[in-house]
């Protein structure tokens, strides 16, 4: 890889070479980080870094449309899908470090390095000394985007139209994998629930725990103005505290306060 870059340095501008030496290590670091991370989400984020660097490479190589597409589609859409899928498995999920096949790790590392060397060498050999031609011509006359459009919608028309078939396949696959069919009417949706609530006897929210009580803990039931417990404020699934003991002496005082303001108890929403 570096071999090719050094050889290519005489045909590319210094700015392009500089950008390569910045983006290249970042892309590589992302790839290595993705392999080495134990946590699946961290792996995905390292991969996002690599994808972003690749987008940067396209920009550097005078293909701004491809660069933007790389960022929008790969990092924006496909990696979000990756994240969603990884989040399906939960945050405590991480790679198993138990080696199931003896010596598999060493063999994998060796073969990986060998494969990378082979591919890198082949690419370096194939691209060394090749002069880049045609960039100015292809980006002339309307610019990069129009040039892509001309190619895509004439020469590569069939591939373009076949893409739509691929997209149908993707939709069908996603439906089969991820769609849970509900018999219609078997489960009330948000709309039905909302209508039922408004038409029901109690459209408003339940009384919050702690209202009028001496404590505002979720475990303290709300009190009505006369000091009794508001039953609908009891939270489910937890042990409610006893209502704060309004001493027998003071409850009379309380009654004194509220007894003549009957309208308060009846009308004013508490």
């Amino acid at each position: 890889m570096s071999h090719a870059a050094v050889l290519a340095a005489d045909v590319v501008s210094s700015g392009e070479a500089g950008a390569f030496w910045v983006l290249g290590p970042i892309a590589l670091a992302g790839a290595i980080g993705m392999v080495l991370s134990r946590n699946a989400i961290h792996s995905a984020l390292w991969l996002v870094l690599t994808m972003l660097s690749l987008g940067g490479f396209y920009f550097v190589q005078q293909a701004p449309f491809l660069g933007a597409v790389q960022i929008i589609v790969y990092t924006g859409a496909i990696m979000i899908l990756f994240l969603f899928v990884l989040m399906l498995v939960g945050r405590d999920y991480s790679d198993s470090i138990v080696e199931t096949l003896r010596g598999q790790r060493v063999a994998a590392i060796l073969l990986g390095i060998g494969f990378a060397g082979l591919v890198g060498g082949l690419i370096a050999d194939a691209t060394s000394g090749v002069e880049s031609v045609g960039l100015a011509e292809s980006n002339a006359d309307g610019g990069n985007v129009a040039a892509i459009a001309r190619l895509l919608f004439t020469d590569y028309l069939l591939a373009f139209e076949l893409t739509s078939a691929l997209l149908i396949t993707a939709a069908v696959g996603a439906m089969i994998l991820a769609h849970i069919e509900h018999e219609s009417g078997s489960r009330p949706g948000q709309k039905e629930q909302s209508i039922a609530r408004i038409k029901g006897p109690r459209p408003q929210t339940l009384t919050g725990p702690g209202v009028f009580a001496r404590g505002n803990s979720v475990a303290a039931p709300a009190l009505l103005p006369d000091g009794s417990v508001a039953e609908d404020s009891r939270a489910t699934g937890m042990k409610m505290r006893q209502p704060p003991a309004i001493a027998s002496g003071s409850i009379d005082d309380l009654d004194d306060v509220t007894v003549d303001s009957g309208a308060n108890r009846d009308g004013v929403p508490t």
Partner: protein, 447 residues
């Protein structure tokens, strides 16, 4: 006119600045965004206050003018809390991932024509590319990560639910937003923002009833459906009311940033407001003629030269911010199923259909030499009449027999209306009993 036309930058004018001009522009854009954010927060609170018969913040600085600055400083001196269950590196990085793309998206927004800064002639725009608008889309795609990761890394239920909703919402409305601007590219023939502003300089000549009009050039007028879809989609994209489900405070506390505090929270807040500014600026650029002066001002010859356009541009951005605020003060939050149904079943098909209609019109007018004005006259007006007739004649929904119509009961009162004959009881005598004191504290906000 030739003098004025020379002021509009083209793609060749970018990338030729000397280094100190670049530094000035970078710092200038950064400062503009921060200043607009501080302004937008105060402006929103003032406007919402007025709309609710209040004054709004008026304590800090002249007429409350320094309120948002004071809020920002206060946030910096708050404790920075790292939840015990948080995924530390991602919790740390999420605000950065949210904020940086928000800044970057503004880099391709044209603020003005070519001006002279200390003798150097340069366009008032950080940079422009043949794919300018895609930079904004790419940045908004990256902004989704900040929110998803913030919610996920917090290790808490409410942020997780908020980030889930947020991600699904942003990607859904990104589709509608992406589709809405296709028609603009169709008309402008370019994706560079300066080119799109240039293309809106003047409209095609429209002849109707034997008279010749110089048609409007703004794409908001030429492509009204695109403009409406764009406006709706960006409100969903920026998580603002009535689409602020990710941070629906009555259900999810604060949504994805519930567990964030101090400057980390401030960055999310900053990113949200910068995103509002950016989508308003993009709306101005794509649909409202960019930095060019609106009609009555544009009669004045000097309106589109020199530094004046900055004023028109900022005015258009503030108009966008005002609409955001207006929506927030007016509309109740939608239910999640309504919201997703609206995005996928209304906005997307309408946008696709509209693109096909616009493209067909353009191709027909080119191949068969139709006049766009003629088509608008002979097709548009009958269609409009038809639509209005259908709307007019559409049968009203039968009244629901289970809904009880009529005057609410006068005595007991039914939720949420108090009884009509309500007599406010006299204030009870001050008794310093705990129970009464506790009772007065009640009725507070329920989390």
């Amino acid at each position: 006119m030739s003098n004025l036309a020379a002021e509009s930058p083209t793609l060749a004018d970018f990338g030729t600045d000397v280094w100190w001009i670049i530094v000035i522009k970078v710092v200038g854009i950064f400062a503009l965004l921060v200043a607009l954010t501080l302004f937008a927060i105060l402006f929103e609170r003032k406007v919402v206050g007025r709309m609710q018969q209040r004054i709004g913040p008026n304590r800090v600085g002249p007429r409350g003018g320094l309120q948002s600055l004071a809020d920002g400083l206060k946030l910096a001196f708050k404790e920075d809390i790292m939840p015990a269950l948080a995924d530390k590196p991602i919790y740390f990085l999420a605000p950065v991932i949210a904020a940086v793309p928000a800044f970057l998206a503004f880099s391709v927004i044209p603020i003005g024509p070519i001006v002279s800064i200390f003798g150097e002639r340069t366009p008032l725009q950080l940079t422009d590319l043949p794919v300018g608008v895609l930079i904004v889309l790419a940045c908004s795609a990256m902004g989704v990560y900040g929110i998803v990761l913030a919610g996920w890394a917090s290790g808490s239920t409410y942020p997780l639910l908020g980030s889930l909703r947020s991600a699904a919402q942003m990607i859904s409305y990104e589709i509608a937003m992406g589709l809405s601007i296709v028609a603009v590219f169709l008309y402008a023939g370019t994706m560079s923002t300066s080119g799109i502003v240039e293309a809106q300089e003047s409209g095609s000549e429209v002849s109707a009833f034997g008279l010749n009009f110089d048609g409007p050039g703004w794409y908001a007028v030429v492509l009204p459906v695109s403009f409406i879809i764009y406006c709706i989609a960006v409100v969903g994209e920026t998580n603002r009311a009535p689409f602020d489900l990710p941070e629906a405070e009555s259900e999810l506390v604060g949504g994805f940033h519930t567990e964030y505090s101090s400057l980390k929270f401030a960055l999310f807040y900053l990113a949200e407001y910068i995103n509002m500014v950016t989508v308003s600026a993009l709306a101005a650029t794509l649909f409202l003629g960019g930095w060019r002066a609106p009609w009555p001002i544009s009669i004045w010859d000097g309106a589109n030269s020199g530094w004046w356009p900055v004023l028109w541009f900022i005015g258009k951005v503030i108009l966008g911010l005002f609409v955001f605020t207006w929506l927030r003060a007016t509309l109740p939050r939608m239910r999640y199923d309504q919201f997703m149904r609206f995005g996928w079943k209304v906005l997307v098909p309408v946008a696709l259909l509209w693109i096909l209609v616009v493209a067909t019109m353009r191709v027909l007018s080119r191949e068969y030499d139709f006049n766009a004005g003629d088509i608008a006259l002979y097709v548009g007006i009958p269609v409009l009449v038809l639509v209005m007739a259908v709307v007019w004649l559409w049968p009203d929904k039968a009244p629901d027999p289970t809904v009880k119509e009529g005057v609410p009961p006068t005595t007991r009162g039914a939720f949420p209306t108090p009884p009509l004959d309500l007599v406010v009881p006299p204030s009870p005598p001050l008794i310093k009993r705990d129970a009464v004191a506790a009772g007065k504290r009640g009725g507070g906000k329920r989390a």
